[in-house]
Symmetry: C2
Subunit: 121 residues, 2 copies
């Protein structure tokens, strides 16, 4: 059978900036824990800096939006989504500025966030 347009786009190694919303995020145990709302990109280098991600249920208190450094997301070509080792405990203790929909962080905040998630809890 021919692939549908959707499955073809899912398995393509590239994604369009206006089709990023809804990309799945999976926990270390393979459970789907959230979806990407938007990526935030460095204008000069063209590299993704972090992803604003909605977590539903994972934290046990409804849906929450968190900013996750790109280094914590690893694309899985079979699942068509990103794996992360970020834990519910980390999300709960993450810096205040990263727990919300404020997408444009300062250089200081970005570094603080990278350091926070790089540290094992």
């Amino acid at each position: 059978m021919a692939e549908t347009d959707t499955s073809s786009a899912l398995s393509h190694p590239l994604i369009e900036s206006d089709h990023i919303e809804g990309t799945a995020v999976f926990a270390a145990n393979g459970k789907r824990i959230g979806t990407i709302k938007r990526l935030v990109i460095e204008k000069i280098s063209g590299h993704v800096a972090y992803a604003v991600t909605s977590f539903g249920g994972f934290l046990g208190v409804g849906s929450e939006v968190h900013t996750i450094p790109w280094e914590q997301l690893h694309y899985d070509t079979k699942l068509h989504g990103y794996h992360t080792t970020v834990t519910a405990e980390q999300l709960r203790q993450a810096p205040e500025f990263s727990r919300g929909d404020e997408a444009l962080l300062s250089r200081y905040e970005r570094q603080k966030l990278v350091n926070f998630y790089a540290e094992p809890m």
Copy 2:
């Protein structure tokens, strides 16, 4: 005067994936020649591969959409947009697959496009 939200976002070094559309593109002579419709990003590396860009008037035949390799776009922090040395002649002679709204190119097409625009005309 305090900056408005808009000018603050314009001068920020980061941009949200859902706010990319409309970013200005300028020719070598400083003239505004187009706007970015979307960026196309490598899912695994998180690097921008190319930009689907609308050129209006530049080609003298109404508005046209072209896929431009990321290497041909250089962010200008003063103009809040991308400079390019791509010429109208190059756009006219660009490979057929890059002259339209087909955003997900194959690996072969990407390489062909990078080579085409890297070659001086």
